[in-house]
């Protein structure tokens, strides 16, 4: 047994940390989050040059062919720097949907371009009901004469406004189960497709509403077989959930680091505040939250890479734990900083808001605890 990272992974970590310190410092994050895109072409190109946009894609499609455990390292560093932009949506949602569900031709067409930074694909799966699971997919795709007509609304779609194409989950057969969910790949500008950017509490994450009114497309827009889209979508979501957990771990670690540094230098009543047990003990609790978050996230990543039977359970354990932990750590960070922690000027609110948004992305702790309960047959 070896529950640690290898030399290549440690190298990836130090490379990524330096890269984001240089290319995506807090000033850059703040500048980009104020723009509708949330990313600059320059930074996106540099991410592509590092090979990180294709990190987990097979080498046959110009990817690096690495696993989730490797991705975890990169995501931790991205979370540490609260990197804004569509990495998550393009690489891990839209791109992975093509990896999991796409035909050989679709993979060849899209994945090398995503890896090179030339194209971005978003994933539209949730709806205004905010219901997770296959029952939440109610947008209809009616087949007639070989053509599909899609109507309905998708919500909480990451970066649809800057994507070159959208993967849309729709129902080709009525019902509430997994059967009958299909995935379609719609290029930007398809007639009847309307994308609206929504104001978000976490400005580094861009969410959209996507309205489809009688969008008519041919069967070549299908990603995978008709009616069989839920299984690949669930695989994408499990992977993206673990990547998100890793990003949250990186953010939580950074909040702890900032808080400890501050507690060492900030004086009150003639002593550093970190010497008071009221501060020290809360910092100790933060450490426990951070370390535990990493442990379960690393395990879930390994379990998915190895395809072990309990991988979905590990994913839900991770998301349940990390959702609560990051929220607690980010809140404690603000509290221990006092007034300065509540200012716009200090970076803590970037992490606090990222923690809150991430908590409800791919299901919150309550949702995943129930999934754990089901998977262990409580």
């Amino acid at each position: 047994m070896n529950f640690g990272f290898n030399e290549e992974q440690e190298l990836l970590r130090s490379t990524a940390r330096k890269f984001f310190e240089n290319e995506c410092g807090s000033d850059t994050v703040r500048r980009l989050m104020e723009t509708p895109e949330g990313i600059s072409p320059d930074l996106w190109t540099k991410l592509a040059e590092q090979g990180w946009l294709g990190l987990v894609y097979p080498e046959a499609y110009d990817g690096m062919g690495l696993g989730l455990v490797d991705l975890v390292v990169l995501m931790e560093e991205m979370g540490r720097a609260v990197v804004p932009g569509p990495y998550f949506s393009a690489v891990l949602l839209g791109g992975l949907a093509i990896v999991e569900a796409g035909s050989e031709a679709q993979k060849k067409e899209w994945l090398p371009k995503i890896a090179a930074g030339d194209r971005r694909v978003a994933l539209a799966w949730m709806e205004p009901s905010a219901q997770l699971g296959p029952a939440g997919v109610t947008l209809t795709a009616v087949e007639k004469g070989g053509q599909y007509t899609l109507s309905g609304t998708k919500l909480f779609v990451h970066d649809a406004h800057t994507a070159d194409a959208l993967v849309v989950a729709a129902r080709t057969r009525p019902g509430a189960g997994a059967d009958g969910v299909s995935l379609f790949l719609l290029p930007k500008g398809t007639k009847g497709l309307e994308v609206t950017l929504l104001p978000t509490m976490d400005q580094t994450r861009k969410l959209c509403e996507v309205a489809l009114s009688d969008v008519t497309i041919g069967p070549d827009a299908l990603l995978g077989a008709a009616g069989a889209g839920w299984a690949p979508l669930a695989r994408v979501l499990d992977r993206a959930t673990v990547a998100l957990c890793a990003e949250m771990c990186g953010g939580a670690q950074k909040v702890l680091d900032m808080t400890v540094e501050y507690a060492k230098i900030r004086q009150a009543f003639g002593r550093p505040i970190g010497s008071y047990q009221g501060v020290k003990h809360r910092a100790a609790d933060m450490l426990v939250d951070v370390e535990n978050s990493k442990s379960i996230t690393y395990y879930a990543a390994w379990a998915l890479d190895e395809g072990v039977a309990e991988a979905p359970l590990a994913v839900s354990m991770a998301k349940a734990y990390v959702s609560d932990a990051y929220r607690r750590v980010a809140a404690a960070g603000i509290q221990l900083h006092g007034g300065i922690g509540f200012t716009w000027e200090h970076d803590l609110h970037l992490y606090f808001k990222r923690a809150k948004g991430s908590e409800f992305t791919f299901g919150d702790a309550t949702h995943h605890r129930e999934r754990v309960a089901q998977l262990v047959n409580l």
Partner: protein
């Protein structure tokens, strides 16, 4: 990153599993499956025999060097053993203070004679050990201890008192910290003795706890004579030796604790399945499902945080202050399991041993009460947070 076992480790697992399936005592399994643990006092003789059996089979002191009677294996085998014992609900090792603490400290600091004399009988459970650290005025602030040892020829004469001494009433030896140089600063001038509990002048008084049991004791020393050959690690060097013991304590606890938490949780889930409220099993109640699932998650998280610590040990790093986090997690987890057990039982949680209405003959009531000590014994949660704050995070001392 790799969680798979080597063929040798798989084979070791098979060896343990096969042995346990033949030797496990069914009366234990039956009782453990009803409650989460068994009150220790009623089980000492049974536990003594059990450790003897484990020892004969070569399953005690796996990580000890062969010269000390161990098997010279790694922490990986130790973890496998603990896991298998948990899965089969095997009884714990009685002489845990010797196996987890006194033994490794003697191996690290002992004279050849001490290393030859003591470890074998620790393993076989022929000699049980207790730990003479805490005093009425030296608990968390251990270095304030006042028990004196004054030189008299080639002996030391010990006077003073220890408290919260687990197993002292059945122990043959004690790891004794006593002050040999009262003029030195408080961390200096302490010496670590290996004390024969049958020495004249040693009085053990059971200390009745809030559970009604007497697991702990007060130990009084009235002109107890200890030969200087019983000093471990040198005169006035007891603080360093004692800290080594504490380091091993958290390590030993770390391996055992996840297993104990798992056993407790399994018992809790079984009870929740069997308990109906408003006509449906507790496990179908949405609020209780959330709580049970969170316990399940926390127990697994604890396991993987432990696995990361073991990975460091396997790479040759010494156990560090991070072990304090493991102790805190266990305490929090176990106390919540016990609270949840009471919540599941509801009104029945008021009834205890002796009532036909009591759930599992009141075993949970006992473990619930006992769990309050978890956040005090082995270093309070407050002290663990200080250790994490100061030695892991580098925050200034108060």
């Amino acid at each position: 990153m790799d969680f798979t076992l080597t063929p040798e480790q798989e084979s070791f697992r098979g060896e343990v599993r096969a042995w346990l399936s033949k030797q496990m005592r069914q009366e234990w399994v039956a009782r453990l499956s009803k409650g989460s643990d068994i009150p220790r006092p009623e089980a000492y003789e049974l536990l003594r025999r059990w450790q003897g059996q484990l020892h004969e089979a070569g399953f005690v002191g796996l990580t000890w060097p062969k010269e000390a009677g161990g098997r010279g294996l790694t922490f990986m085998e130790e973890m496998i053993l603990q896991q298998e014992m948990a899965l089969s609900k095997a009884p714990p090792v009685l002489n845990i203070l010797a196996i987890g603490m006194a033994g490794p400290t003697i191996v690290a600091y002992g004279t050849d004679e001490q290393k030859r004399r003591y470890p074998p009988k620790m393993l076989s459970c022929e000699e049980i050990w207790c730990q003479g650290y805490s005093e009425p005025n030296a608990g968390s602030d251990l270095a304030s201890l006042q028990t004196r040892a004054v030189k008299d020829g080639d002996h030391y004469v010990v006077n003073g008192q220890k408290v919260w001494t687990s197993l002292a009433h059945i122990a043959d030896y004690m790891m004794l910290l006593a002050r040999t140089d009262p003029s030195a600063p408080k961390h200096k001038g302490i010496t670590y003795f290996l004390l024969d509990m049958k020495s004249p002048g040693v009085t053990v008084k059971p200390l009745k706890q809030m559970t009604g049991d007497a697991e702990f004791n007060e130990v009084y020393f009235d002109n107890v004579r200890v030969h200087e050959s019983q000093i471990l690690g040198g005169l006035d060097n007891g603080w360093a030796v004692g800290l080594t013991t504490l380091m091993y304590e958290r390590l030993a606890l770390g391996f055992g604790l996840q297993v104990r938490l798992r056993i407790a949780l399994d018992g809790l889930v079984d009870m929740a399945r069997a308990t109906k409220k408003n006509g449906v099993p507790v496990t179908q109640d949405p609020v209780m499902r959330q709580k049970l699932a969170q316990m399940w998650i926390d127990t697994e998280v604890f396991k993987y945080t432990g696995a990361r610590a073991i990975t460091k040990l396997l790479k040759g790093e010494l156990p560090g202050p991070e072990a304090s986090a493991g102790k805190m997690m266990w305490v929090d987890g176990h106390q919540r399991v016990q609270e949840l057990a009471m919540e599941i039982q509801g009104a029945f949680s008021q009834l205890t041993h002796g009532s036909a209405w009591a759930v599992a003959d009141g075993l949970w009531q006992h473990t619930f009460l006992r769990s309050r000590a978890n956040s005090i014994e082995g270093g309070t949660t407050e002290i663990q947070r200080n250790i994490i704050g100061e030695r892991v995070l580098g925050l200034p001392k108060g």
